[in-house]
């Protein structure tokens, strides 16, 4: 029992360090806060893959009572740790991703053109603005090739 607890503590300690590192990359003023708009990037770079809706909920959890536009590390840490421990919002497995592309590729050509992809991304799914940046994506080759 004690061993299990120790192990858990070690894991948590390691998570804490990881989260702190990622947070600090965006803490430009070195005062343990980051701009709320960067929270999504931090969470995703740590391996969690929430949807925009889920992300909004998370932000609501870590924001101040009166939103300041900044998120403090003290509030972020426990929420993020929990997310990692529970393995919430796991990234999508490759085969599922592949099938998603196949769904969009109704003509079964094995690829999507850039325009088609942009159209789907901007018109379907959840609303967002950064999908326009898909321009930067290299053209996807035959499905099955990882980017």
């Amino acid at each position: 029992m004690a061993d299990e607890k120790d192990r858990q503590e070690i894991i948590v300690a390691e998570f804490h360090k990881k989260i702190k590192e990622a947070f600090e990359v965006f803490d430009h003023e070195s005062n343990n806060t980051v701009d709320v708009r960067e929270i999504g990037t931090i969470i995703r770079s740590l391996g969690c893959c929430p949807t925009e809706g889920e992300l909004h909920d998370l932000i609501a959890e870590v924001e101040e009572e009166e939103p300041t536009g900044y998120i403090r590390f003290e509030k972020f840490l426990p929420v993020m740790t929990e997310m990692l421990l529970e393995r919430r919002y796991r990234p999508i497995p490759e085969d599922v991703l592949l099938r998603a592309f196949e769904v969009l590729d109704s003509a079964k050509r094995g690829f999507l053109t850039k325009d088609e992809l942009i159209k789907y991304m901007t018109e379907e799914g959840a609303p967002h603005s950064e999908m326009a940046a898909l321009e930067n994506l290299p053209r996807k080759g035959p499905l099955g090739k990882t980017m």
Binding site: V25, G40, T51, M121, E130, M131
Partner: protein
Amino acid sequence: MGSGSSTRHHSAFQNAERTFKAAALIQRWYRRYVARLEMRRRCTWSIFQSIEYAGQQDQVKLHDFFSYLMDHFIPSSHNERLGEFLTRMFTEDRFAQDSEMEKCSDYESIEVPDSYTGPRLSFPLLPDHATALIEAFRLKQQLHARYVLNLLYETKKHLVQLPNINRVSTCYSEEITVCGDLHGQLDDLIFIFYKNGLPSPERSYVFNGDFVDRGKDSVEILMILFAFMLVYPKEFHLNRGNHEDHMVNLRYKYGFTKEVMNKYKIHGKEILRTLQDVFCWLPLATLIDEKVLILHGGVSDITDLELLDKIERNKIVSTMRCKTRQKSEKQMEEKGKANRKSSAQEPIPWFLPQSRSLPSSPLRLSSYKAHKTSRSSSIPCCGCLDGRELSRQVRSSVELELERCRQQAGLLVTGQKEEPSRSASEADSEAGELQKPTQEEWRQVVDILWRDPMAQEGCKANTIRGGGCYFGPDVTQQLLQKYNLQFLIRSHECKPEGYEFCHNRKVLTIFSASNYYEVGSNRGAYVKLGPALTPHIVQYQANKVTNTLTMRQRISRVEESALRALREKLFAHSSDLLSEFKKHDADKVGLITLSDWAAAVESVLHLGLPWRMLRSQLVNSSADNMLEYKSWLKNLAKEQLSHENIQSSLLETLYRNRSNLETIFRIIDSDHSGFISLDEFRQTWKLLSSQMNIDITDDCICDLARSIDFNKDGHIDINEFLEAFRLVEKSCLEGDTSECPQATNAKDSGCNSPGAC
């Protein structure tokens, strides 16, 4: 397909739902992709920046150390030779300076051969000459030394007439363009002129310092800028940057000094001497319409524009170290020793143990904590100590320094104090000689050239750079209010977008060297001030290659470059890393956890980088989260071994300067006994090698010392010292490259030790 209902409506609905889900899934994935790219981009940036600043810091330390020794131990006849030595250490080139500085350039005596096809200048310069220079340099021609010196001579004549603060009015020219750091990147300058237009009476320019160092065309940039300044004196303005400073130039391995010496083998030193003069005559700031203040670094809570207007700016030859006018120091120079008044509040060099420095002086000795007004640049050394006492202290200070090398680097700052300027009380016996600035004057200039803005209020020492302090939005506000200014334009810091506003848009950083760290690392920018002085920013990236790459490819390229630099740094600390790893491996299994790896690496390198994020790039996948550290270090070494490394080894450098070995010997022999103890030798060598990014284990140094001690009496005398280097020469000539200096973990003596070459 859908099951159940056969209506088309229903299956169409299900189809749409599937599409929606698929798209949402892909969006989720894509967002993660972008987030990871962004994280990589930021980490890469941190790597570059932290390595750059840490490197500066190291070199400041080393420079301080030698300067201090120079001041206090070497009889004055050796000063010049040591100056040469220092120069060579940093430029790896022969650069014997005459002890007399020639005040005027005798360029007229330099013959220009008929075969010379480069641009020829005649004075007074015409706009066409300046334009021709640009074209010539674009075609990779080189300006002949005679014209270089002529131009510098004329430039200095012009600069001497200028005030410390250029005052510019927009009613004379229609537009003003302000450019930031160029750092020897000629492509960027050419691009700016191409895109924005050449300077003219209708088109004013202000170049905000740091024209040289790091890039490879610093000379050409200076020629162009000076030429336009002479042609359009009312419209073309230059501010001094912290790199317009021969001491700073020396510090860079790929710096300006080296560039000049390489391009001008015969007249290089004369050009550099003249430039030293020209640099210190550059104006300190430019003021537009009394509303917009442009200077290179930043401001402080004591920045006093009226004082700055009045000082003799050429007295501040270098912001790196400066002899300021102080009673005690003058006496020090005259007598070289003597215990003087304790009332003299002298700053203490960083490496002296604080407690033993001065007799009963009410100094604020908390310099090792970040203190509000402390300054981290190298401050002139203190003076009031007995020679022998100092000697003892320096020796123990070397020990202290080695200890400190292993711990968190403290501030570089020596004791901070506000000393009232003593200009009135000083009866200057230095008539005819360049008078030295007061402490306060020097500090004002250092602030302007070195400071960086920060988000928090107040002032804070800049331990990262090793020079200057940070200043907060309240400091900016105070200054703007005091002088009724609208905003501040400064440079000094590289920004990913080439510019950045801060302090409530009251401070604009403008940086004009694109791809500064690496191709694709950042944009450059310049700012045009329109009517009502509203800023209009133009960005660019002067490299066509980057435009054809995707964002991911661009980021990967820059990232790879950063990682390479980082691996080099790791390698340079191999032996320290090994001992740190061993601390985490109590059972001597040869394995440590990845978490311990991160902690160990940070405690050795002090770069403040997100090691866990970088881990996957630096460490190959390890079984169950454990790392075999010895083989990891070995792999690092394998990557690094190259001819270049060998050539830059400390031994090679010293060997090339063997005519100064006697001086080196005297430095190490701090108690003037005529012998160097193995200990002294070891300590000094360790310090030198750690600063020059060469890893030498303790064992290696001991071996080296022992092997030099031919008669095995535990001491090295000057003859043995010289003999060792004669042997080095002999074996190097024999091409025995297999044993050339490399830094690896030497297991037994004899393998790969630097002395074996």
